[in-house]
């Protein structure tokens, strides 16, 4: 087989897994108990690996906050010392089949959603979504209120959610997205329909159960219309865990930003990240006083939803978000149309009537991005240098990540052929 045939065969396998995988939310457990390679001395953050001295302010705050919450330190300075001394290792979440939203730092005792791909067996992980408020670790803040919330999640909210999904025998995420097809979710930055449909199922079970603070937990859960995002991030990781194991494939299996660098990984190039300076997420400033200078570069792993064919890839399904962030309905259709040109497959569980009943393109092929010079779009929320969300909008995926990936996969194939 020549190189082209090897890649075609590998990409065909990737397409099968991406469209045939069945992510099911099965549990909520402490990160350290379930995430592969996670130890009490590991902290997971978003994006490609980053040198400690380059970690931007909001992520640094989240890291230190997580260490204080874990009772590893009593002050921010003491916590940071654990990182700079190498006692605590800060690693890329996606290298552990996990994902971190924005500035989030995930530590061992934090409850994470566990999603299992029932067809190919992969498992993915993501912290329980903290709700819509800004004062959370996820947006780079740590204070007494954040500490109280983290303890509440660990001791009550997380365990109650875990008990509920276990009792339900798991929640099929494809089923949730199929049931809510055509309701306007693009499932990265907008997912009220999916969140509500999931709540519709879960609250019935919650009300039959006896656990401490049940009414408060139900109220908090039902009020979070973005809850589905973190479950789906874990879902994307569960399917991608199997795609990551396909040699020779040029299909993208990871992407994210750490605020300084933006990176991608491809199935055929193992754990290597291909990075460039992180682009800004632009669209709508959430306050009129914010400027581009206030913004960090792309920060967060929530774009693993795009890697799985949602968000910017399924923009046509959620034109409301696209229009809200300064673009048009035509732009929404164009984003999905462009993505189709550079993807290896299409999800058909939620065809969109106003987009010719087409599905969501999935599996970005680096060859097509480079060859056709078409850049897919990721939706996202931009983080302020001072912490907090500053924008909602989108960013084009940087071409150079894909060019670097192609050079690397070519080298692998040449070496194997020797």
């Amino acid at each position: 087989m020549d190189f082209k045939q090897q890649i075609e065969q590998a990409n065909q396998k990737a397409a099968e897994i991406l469209t045939g995988g069945r992510p099911v939310w099965v549990d909520v457990q402490p990160a350290g108990d379930v995430i592969p390679g996670m130890t009490p001395d590991t902290l997971l953050i978003a994006g490609p690996p980053i040198a400690v001295e380059e970690i931007p302010g909001p992520v640094k705050t989240a890291i230190c906050g997580a260490l204080i919450y874990e009772e590893r330190a009593t002050t921010m300075e003491e916590a940071w010392q654990l990182v700079t001394s190498g006692t605590v290792k800060v690693e890329s979440a996606q290298d552990h089949d996990a994902a971190c939203g924005a500035a989030m730092a995930t530590s061992a005792s934090m409850p994470v959603c566990v999603v299992e791909d029932k067809v190919y067996g992969g498992r993915g992980f993501c912290a329980v979504h903290p709700g819509n408020k800004q004062n959370v670790l996820r947006w780079g803040f740590y204070n007494e209120e954040v500490q109280r919330d983290l303890v509440w999640f660990r001791d009550h909210y997380g365990p109650a959610l875990g008990e509920t999904v276990r009792r339900m025998g798991g929640i099929d995420l494809i089923n949730v997205m199929s049931k809510t097809a055509g309701m306007g979710d693009e499932n990265h930055n907008r997912q009220p329909a999916a969140s509500m449909y999931m709540a519709l199922q879960m609250i019935q079970t919650m009300m039959e159960m006896e656990f401490p603070y049940r009414d408060q937990i139900v109220k908090e859960f039902a009020a979070n219309d973005r809850f589905f995002l973190h479950v789906m991030m874990a879902g994307a990781e569960s399917v991608l865990a199997s795609v990551k194991k396909i040699p020779h494939s040029t299909v993208m299996v990871a992407m994210g930003g750490n605020g300084i660098r933006f990176g991608t990984r491809f199935a055929g190039t193992g754990n290597r990240w291909f990075t460039v300076e992180a682009p800004l997420i632009e669209g709508l400033f959430l306050k009129p006083t914010y400027t581009r200078e206030d913004m960090l570069g792309f920060l967060g792993d929530s774009c693993v939803t795009e890697v799985y064919g949602l968000g910017g890839m399924s923009a046509s399904a959620g034109p409301g978000y696209v229009i809200l962030t300064g673009s048009t309905f035509a732009d929404a259709l164009q984003r999905s149309a462009d993505a189709r040109k550079v993807c290896v497959a299409e999800h058909m569980f939620a065809p969109i009537p106003w987009d010719g009943s087409r599905g969501f393109p999935v599996g970005v092929d680096a060859r097509k991005v480079v060859g056709l010079n078409i850049l897919p779009t990721s939706h996202g929320g931009g983080t302020l240098k001072a912490g907090g969300q500053g924008t909602m909008g989108s960013a084009k995926l940087p071409l150079d990540c894909f060019k670097q990936g192609l050079v690397a996969i070519n080298e692998i194939l040449i070496n194997e052929a020797k």
Binding site: F3, V370, L413
Partner: protein, 60 residues
């Protein structure tokens, strides 16, 4: 008939133009009521020679 005559004959007949790449030329003819079909063509890899050579081996 010389080549020049052939070209002249072409311009004396009704033109149907296939415009490949930049729209500017096709648009100019369109404004003169010439029927133009635009072909959405771009050079492979935006003209990047290294990538073109790679893709010759890796396929697209």
């Amino acid at each position: 008939m010389t080549n020049t005559d052939r070209i002249q004959e072409l311009f004396n007949s009704e033109l149907v133009v296939l415009n490949i790449g930049p729209r500017l030329f096709g648009d100019a003819l369109g404004k003169q009521n010439v029927e133009v079909v635009q072909v959405d063509w771009r050079p492979l890899a935006g003209g990047d020679k290294q990538m073109q050579d790679l893709l010759a081996d890796l396929g697209i």
